[in-house]
């Protein structure tokens, strides 16, 4: 390794502790809010906590990243430090992969084991003694106890909105690649165009998904409460949607920075990290489309 030109160790920083406080207020506020809704008690304090926490977190992100960007543009960073960021981001994405892995595992277990068992198939089929009415199907429209978990009228047709969404999201990965290429060619006009298009595709995806959720709740009786199909459906698509939202915000920030004149063909780790994240979200969707909607 040639460049061991003194690794940059930042001076004291107040962003981490601000972040820790913000995180505490946000999550504590969220917990307190849910808690007080359940207890039917006053939730004002909880809302204040949650909102101020979220604000602090947002401020922390802006401040922290601004500091990093400023340092980077001052030329304090070395290729070694750049590698630290890259490795760091890759491992972070790996942790996200494992998060989704758990939910896909749940879906797999439910479909392969739990639901068939409840209908009397397989090694633990005795369970059907307790649910004589129950019939295993997938998508599972009617839960073993339909009084507690009201039945679903109909599931979402994969060949409508979900297919469109697939096209949108896969397309957005390509437009982002094009933006990256443009950045490397120093073609800033194209960069802005492709990046904006990517964001547009992402936001359209989100819009359609919101529409789909409303449709599910109001017309299909497909809700979180409608048994395990609804639970896994909303959990997987919901967390995916949350990631698309975060990804879109990241891309928006990148676009903003592009307009500020940031990034050079050699040094644009921020851009790459954002696009890795976006591609990751895209790959998750492909798994999701096949296992949640299609199969």
């Amino acid at each position: 390794m040639a460049h061991h030109s003194a690794y940059y160790v930042p001076p004291q920083s107040h962003w981490p502790i601000i972040g820790a406080v913000g995180l505490f207020l946000t999550l504590g506020g969220a917990a307190a809010l849910i808690y007080s809704l359940q207890q039917e008690s006053d939730s004002l304090l909880a809302q204040i906590m949650l909102n101020s926490g979220a604000l602090i977190l947002a401020g922390m992100m802006i401040g922290w990243f601004a500091a990093v960007i400023a340092e980077s543009r001052q030329g304090l960073y070395s290729p070694q430090l750049d590698r630290s960021f890259r490795y760091g981001m890759s491992w972070f994405i790996f942790s996200e992969v494992m998060f989704f892995f758990a939910f896909f595992g749940v879906l797999f277990y439910i479909r392969m084991f739990a639901v068939p068992w409840l209908d009397g198939e397989g090694d633990k089929g005795l369970a059907s003694m307790l649910w004589p009415q129950f019939e295993a199907t997938w998508p599972l429209l009617e839960a073993p106890n339909p009084d507690q978990f009201p039945p679903i009228r109909e599931v979402i047709n994969p060949w409508h909105i979900p297919l469109i969404n697939t096209v949108l999201l896969v397309g957005s990965s390509f437009t982002l690649l094009a933006a990256h290429k443009a950045l490397k060619r120093e073609d800033r006009g194209k960069l802005k165009g492709w990046l904006s298009l990517t964001i547009l595709l992402g936001l359209t995806f989100l819009g359609l998904q919101i529409y789909e959720y409303i449709h599910a709740y109001t017309e299909l009786d497909l809700t979180l409460k409608s048994g395990i199909y609804g639970a896994t459906f909303f959990m997987l698509t919901g967390f995916h949607g949350a990631h698309v939202t975060i990804g879109s915000i990241i891309l928006l920030v990148l676009l903003f920075r592009v307009f500020q004149g940031h990034f050079t063909p050699e040094s644009h780790f921020g851009f790459e990290a954002g696009s890795w994240y976006w591609h990751f979200v895209d790959v998750v969707w492909i798994f999701l489309f096949t296992t949640v909607y299609l199969l």
Binding site: H4, V9, G28, A31, Q38, G88, F99, F113, A114, L224
Partner: protein
């Protein structure tokens, strides 16, 4: 660049802000270690409550509902508050020193990882004062006891766990990146000290399984508040699904709590045997195999849930296999001692006790792995004995050994050897007095997580409680030794241990605030 030069050469800031705003791996290491010591005492006080109630049959001190809260919080605090942060603290101090790096790779993130923790535990501990009390469903929070039947504070428990998870993941990312990217020039992976190797693998495990924990607590939250049915058969879910997801996290978790201790022991034994570690490559390979196997054994905690026979057999076989690489480690340590020239300072004593008592715990683990026999052992004090043997004289002794071993380098002062020896012997006797009798009451039929028990278990329980009081109060001596060292210890030498090798000993004593700002030259033997 002026900012540049400044940061590299100034010493620590003065006062309170030093600790809150720091980006220095040594400061953050100290923070982690002090935090974990505090948590050890909080968790230990809860163990005192448990042992006091179990001193005699009958309900004396606490009500059953409070007892369950104590058991749950004791387990959670010891695992997430005491043992894990202590290892992160050791990693913070030692990894950069041992690989010749100026600091951790992402110093600000490092500070963030730490400061999340005090908030997370404030949230967790605050549940003790909520109406309905703290979580009372065991540290394993099996559904539906933790969903439909949980106290309202479960919501706070979920978010506290989320915070601990974020902290662990970020901390682990930092360790991994540091090891991959910050090694001194010329230091290859197979030159890494074993402590660094074990931590690398631990960090990988952390990043792989903490998100799974996050997923499972999220599903608990959803079942509690948002009407989902992940863990309810009435909606097509399965309570056992909870256990599968939980143990997919929690079994690797137990190795997360012991691999770094293996690393510490692998540093200490060669030093005091004055002989190079036997079988370095085998040690690395064994650690990696343990980590790999740890992903495919989780259901050995669930032998009695009524898994299909094939599953039962699969998990029994894979679990048994872990004995092989672990055995390799034990044999290598002993071969390192064999034909050495040993002395028995406090770190060495704790390390030897680690080998003996961890092996005892491991062997009882092997007994638990035999599925049909586990039908009798499961959820009895035999299991409690097993995991305290691997955790207390395992993980905790490993931490204590590491602290004694590196303390001279950290503080520049020598601890009082005589008091150290007292600390060791009292701990050793205390720990065995506490946890050995648990094997017997467990075999004789005492279930775990009960505040009151049948009369035939009375004698051994009293013995256990006495041992616990002895072991617990002995740890006050530990605190005294630490304070005394920092305050008035004799100055330590550059190389306090005759047989010690490695980069961390090449820096002055005490280790300056910034070390290896220019990477060290590695002298190749």
């Amino acid at each position: 660049m002026s900012a540049h030069a400044e940061t590299l050469h100034h010493g620590p800031a003065k006062g309170f802000s030093r600790w809150i705003l720091t980006t220095n791996h040594k400061d953050i290491g100290t923070l982690y270690l002090v935090f974990s010591l505090i948590m050890l005492f909080i968790g230990g006080t809860m163990a005192f409550v448990i042992r006091a109630e179990l001193f005699q049959p009958g309900l004396q001190l606490v009500m059953p509902e409070f007892f369950n809260q104590m058991t749950t919080m004791h387990g959670l605090i010891m695992i997430f508050g005491a043992v894990m942060p202590a290892f992160v603290g050791l990693a913070n101090w030692q990894v950069p020193l041992m690989i010749g790096a100026p600091d951790m790779a992402l110093p600000r993130l490092n500070n963030f990882s730490f400061w999340i923790l005090p908030f997370a535990f404030t949230m967790l501990l605050s549940t003790l004062f909520m109406p309905g009390g703290a979580p009372n469903f065991g540290w394993t929070f099996y559904a539906p006891l933790s969903t439909t039947y949980a106290p309202p504070s479960v919501t706070f428990f979920v978010f506290a766990v989320h915070m601990m998870g974020i902290s662990s993941i970020l901390g682990a990312i930092n360790v991994i990146v540091t090891i991959f990217n910050m090694r001194a020039p010329g230091m290859k992976m197979m030159d890494l000290p074993l402590f660094v190797w074990t931590w690398l693998i631990t960090a990988f495990l952390l990043i792989a399984v903490m998100p799974v924990l996050a997923a499972v607590v999220t599903m608990v939250l959803m079942d509690v508040h948002f009407g989902t049915s992940f863990f309810s058969a009435a909606g097509g879910g399965d309570p056992v699904l909870f256990q599968h997801v939980f143990w997919f996290f929690a079994h690797p978790e137990v190795y997360i709590m012991v691999l770094p201790a293996f690393g510490v022991i692998s540093e200490i034994i060669p030093t005091f045997a004055r002989k190079p570690l036997f079988g370095y490559r085998a040690m690395v390979l064994a650690t990696a195999s343990i980590a790999f196997l740890s992903f495919i054994v989780w259901a050995h905690h669930m032998f009695t849930v009524g898994m299909p026979l094939a599953g039962e057999l699969f998990f029994m076989y894979t679990t048994m296999l872990i004995a092989v690489p672990t055995g390799v480690k034990v044999f290598n340590w002993i071969s390192t001692m064999f034909k050495g020239s040993m002395t028995f300072e406090t770190p060495m004593l704790f390390a030897i006790a680690f080998i003996v008592l961890f092996t005892i715990g491991g062997l009882s683990g092997l007994m638990l792995a035999i599925a049909p026999a586990d039908f009798q052992y499961h959820d009895t004090y035999f299991v409690v004995a097993h995991f305290h043997y691997v955790l207390v004289p395992g993980s905790v002794f490993g931490i204590i050994a590491g602290v004694y071993y590196w303390l001279p380098k950290w503080t520049g002062k020598m601890y009082d050897e005589k008091l150290g020896q007292w600390h060791f012997w009292l701990s050793f006797i205390g720990v065995n007095l506490t946890f050995f009798p648990m094997h017997f009451v467990g075999l004789a039929g005492m279930p775990r997580r009960i505040p009151d028990y049948a009369l035939q278990f009375a004698d051994f329980n009293m013995l256990t409680s006495l041992g616990a009081f002895l072991f617990g109060t002995t740890q006050l001596l530990f605190v005294y030794i630490l304070v005394k060292t920092v305050r008035s210890g004799k100055p330590a030498e550059q190389l306090p241990w005759e047989g010690a090798r490695g980069l961390e000993w090449s820096v002055p004593t005490p280790a300056p605030y910034h070390t290896f700002t220019t990477p060290p030259e590695l002298d190749k033997e």
